[in-house]
């Protein structure tokens, strides 16, 4: 006290209470601790190296971009939930405290000590604030685990260990600060900048002699540093591992459209003797790394329609079970993931979209399915579908030359009768052969004609895109279909394609480029919305019924098309459209994806029923869909749901056609 108030003198002692030999012990301890951490991380690295080489993103710009978006800004973590809040507190606290400690050691041990003056004051205040955030995050996390116990999160004694050690680090840190302020007799104006320590000192340490405070400081300092050392060593055995592996996976996951699966080459099959993944080591190295990135937050499980419907699948469990197998040295992946789990996936990509560290659950499942197909382990209707795709070129097993049955009486131009078409209207098998879905094809064709679009269909030259085969896991059947269709499309010099099926849309747009087929592909919602905007379609929506839209996964989530289908069914009267709680990119699957359309399902496990209940709850009279499979599943779901009889499922094109007819269906 009594010293002049000189900001430039503001600083504090570092190791002031720690004798030189103790400092040696401290550095040795930290070196050992970090050394052990590195050793464990190297053993993880060796586990990943057991996988097939490659699979990593190689573009550093992509790494950087992703690290900023997903690691630093944590785009996937933010939500209006307690979990997201506590993560923000913990994350920001941990990052700032780590940076602070690093800066301190640079200042102290480096050539130039900058740890004084205004810098020092702001440093102290910042670290104190984020220290509070960090402790608050720990406490909220403990509260959440103790009382809320979200089931998808999972609960283990190690979680308490981790939270306990983190909170202890925060508390001992502040205790060290308070005791230092006390025994060094820091002037109040300076002490105020270390606000938390100062408050502790003022409220709890008054009356303590300087000597006692100094001894207590020494012991608390040691407790704090020993906890830090233990914390480092235990990172690889608890959830904290994601702090290292998360950003690694975020940076290194290959950049690929969400809707595109990885092609398998005959060469790979010849080398490995397998299609897909049988042993854990058949996954590539990035996939193995991704397993270690999982911190078991459970967001994937909460989003999973199969899990919600009571099917034996949780994407989180898939990742965890494979990771546990990896920690045991690998082996038969089917030993830990039952076949029913793999078949239960609708490949709706909700889990992939949720995962904060960008784990590709659907790729893992797809690789394992390919092996099941290779081993002949698929039976019943879906196996028959594959046969029919192979033999009749459509999953319905109908003669392919009946492909134009839907067009009867409509005089629809074909690629032969109208070779100078602008748009190829790709109908898809469902709208070609399913009598209910044929109405989508009819409505779309009628609307395109009314708007004067120059289009043509392929007729019997169109065949299944191979989408169901690829999702079920029959990669080579898919590739055969893809090559055939690409050849047909090239022969007709197709440039632009429009299709009412989001699955065809996704495959044509995102997967055919893998086979040399590059087209400008649009979903019918997109083209219809444009025609409306251009005034080429002027529907009369007066007196229309209330509508809610079910976003198809492969349109909204996978390909980001959210506005167009809404524009098509938009009514001048806004009260006529209603949104379900899960809409847009957060849509909930109808249950038909991933080949599930053709699987047998017990009535208690139907995803479509859950979705139909959600739709009925909006009170709308019409459930609009933009996918023939969604239409099929939702019609079925409504029939199974109380109140579903008051609602009818229609494709957006059918709704628009009815409105257009009211306005007079004439070509412009």
């Amino acid at each position: 006290m009594g010293q002049p108030l000189d900001v430039n003198q503001a600083t504090r002692e570092v190791f002031g209470n720690i004798s030189p030999w103790m400092q040696v012990v401290f550095f040795a301890m930290m070196a050992l601790s970090i050394g052990l951490l590195v050793r464990q991380m190297i053993s993880h690295l060796w586990r990943w190296r057991k996988g097939r080489p490659g699979g990593f993103e190689r573009n550093p710009r992509v790494w950087l971009q992703r690290l900023v978006i997903y690691a630093l800004a944590q785009k996937r973590v933010h939500k209006k939930t307690l979990g997201a809040l506590l993560h923000l507190l913990l994350f920001s606290g941990f990052v700032i405290l780590t940076i602070g400690t690093t800066l301190l050691s640079i200042a102290h041990d480096g050539p130039y000590n900058f740890h004084h003056g205004w810098y020092y004051l702001i440093y102290e205040l910042t670290l104190d604030i984020f220290g509070v955030a960090f402790c608050a995050g720990c406490l909220i996390a403990m509260y959440r685990r103790a009382f809320r116990r979200p089931p998808a999160l999972g609960h283990d004694w190690r979680d308490w260990w981790l939270l306990g050690i983190l909170l202890s680090l925060g508390i001992t840190g502040f205790a060290v600060e308070a005791l230092r302020l006390h025994y060094t007799q820091v002037q109040p104006w300076l002490a105020h900048w270390s606000i938390v320590g100062w408050l502790i000192d003022r409220s709890m340490l008054q009356g303590l002699t300087i000597g006692t405070a100094q001894t207590m400081h020494l012991w608390t300092w040691w407790l704090h540093t020993i906890l830090v050392a233990i914390f480092f060593v235990t990172i690889p055995v608890d959830r904290f591992l994601h702090v290292i592996t998360g950003p690694l996976n975020i940076a290194l996951r290959p950049e690929r459209p969400m809707g595109a699966l990885v092609p398998l080459t005959i060469k790979e099959v010849e080398e490995t003797g397998r299609t897909g993944v049988h042993d854990l080591q058949n996954f590539n190295r990035q996939q193995l790394l991704s397993l270690d990135a999982c911190m078991e937050c459970g967001r994937c499980e909460d989003a999973c329609p199969a899990f919600a419907a009571g099917k034996p699948l949780s994407p989180k469990r898939v990742a965890m079970d494979l990771r546990d197998l990896m920690s045991l040295g690998g082996g038969d992946a089917h030993g830990v993931i039952p076949d029913e789990t793999l078949w239960a996936c609708t490949m709706c990509q909700a889990c992939v979209q949720e995962c904060p560290v960008l784990i590709g659950h659907v790729d893992l499942i797809s690789d394992l399915r390919r092996d099941l197909i290779g081993e002949g382990k698929l039976f019943g209707p879906p196996a028959k579908i594959l046969q029919q795709v192979a033999n009749q070129s459509n999953p319905y097993g109908r003669p392919n030359n009946e492909r134009l049955a839907w067009a009867e009486g409509l005089d629809v131009p074909t690629a032969d009768s109208n070779p100078n078409f602008e748009y190829l209207l790709w109908i898809g098998c469902a709208a070609s052969f399913d009598p209910r879905a044929q109405k989508i094809a009819r409505a779309t064709a009628q609307l395109l004609k009314a708007a004067g679009v120059n289009f043509a269909v392929l007729g019997k030259e169109e065949t299944c895109t191979g989408d169901p085969a690829r999702r079920i896991g029959d990669e080579f059947l898919f590739q055969e279909r893809a090559q055939t269709n690409v050849a047909t499309l090239s022969r007709h010099k197709v440039g632009r394609i429009v299709t009412p099926c989001p699955h065809c849309y996704n495959t044509l747009k995102n997967e055919y480029p893998q086979f040399g087929g590059e087209y400008e592909v649009e979903h019918h919602s997109n083209l219809l919305a444009k025609l409306m905007a251009d005034g080429k379609l002027q529907p009369d929506a007066a007196g229309e019924e209330t509508v809610t839209l079910h976003d198809p996964c492969y349109l909204a989530r996978v390909n980001g098309e959210i506005e167009a289908p809404r524009a098509v069914i938009a009514s001048p009267n806004e009260h006529k459209t209603r949104e379900m709680p899960r809409c847009g990119k957060k849509t909930f699957c109808c249950g038909a994806g991933g080949g599930r359309m053709w699987f047998e399902e017990p009535p208690t496990q139907r995803v479509s029923n859950l979705r139909a209940e959600e739709a009925v709850a909006t009170g709308a009279q019409v459930l609009a869909t933009a996918c023939p499979f969604c239409l099929n599943m939702m019609s079925d779901g409504l029939a199974n749901t109380k109140g579903g009889e008051r609602m009818k499922a229609l494709d957006i094109s059918e709704i628009l056609l009815a409105r257009q007819k009211r306005a007079g269906l004439t070509g412009r």
Partner: protein
Amino acid sequence: MAKSLIVIEHGPSGLKRSSLHPMTFARQVGDSYALLLLGHRLDALAPTLQSYDATSVLLADHPALAEPLADRYAAVIAEVACKESAQTVIASSSTFSKDVLPRVAALFEAPMVSDVLAVENIDGVSTYKRATHAGSMLANVRVTSDRCVLTIRPTSFAMPAPSSSLSPIEKLPVDETSLPKGMQFISREERVSDRPDLSDARVVVSGGRPLKDTETFERLVGGLADVLGGAVGATRAAVDCGMVPNDYQIGQTGKIVAPELYIGIGISGAIQHLAGIKDSRVIVAINKDPEAPIFQMATYGLVGDLHQLVPELIEALRRA
């Protein structure tokens, strides 16, 4: 003239009529044939079989054969076939023959052709037609061995006409100790029904959810099936809500039917159901919604209230 051995099937309700159809096949290729009946207490069943021009009606009657255990039955059938110097062993396609005949083929050291739809004599050699790839293609199969085991689709060969002459009945000795004992009979679960089996009925009447409850379903769908001598089927929705048992289900995840006449009552026609009926010769649909997709597939469609139409239809058919 070659000789065939035809395995006849029976159950708690007596002889299975469809298992007699192989005789029509044998007559068509010009074989003489013996009939073989296996089981216990067969005396009541045997006389019916006497009037079909068989060279003999063979009875393997023993308590050890009371239940159709595939390993024992196959051993007996193969032994009888050798003893009778039969060249062909034939049975109708059924779960029974799927279970037993492949074993017979192995023991009898003969190739097997299953689900034969037709037989043709091409250049003096029998050529069997059978469906492959889920019925989308027909394969012509020729057997190069002089022995052969066949199952035939009962729907492809008519019920044989009875004759006035009586075939002799012959009881075969069965040595229980020589029978294999790898299988054990635990229990039998069978739905007793007077109606024909769904998979090979000539007429199928099927109902959907609008029938509301078991009683109405039985009265309308069952009633119409009975006046037409048909089998009863249902949609997945009707099965799901517990209106009818699981084995009624027709469609992608149920049975595939191809009757001469299919009548769908209160069925809108989801593609999953249509997948199970698409090969029916005549499809009749009764539904109150004129927009129902099933009408696009139906040969005849009737738009109206099924609760009014179906009873009238049953009444009219009864009077006819």
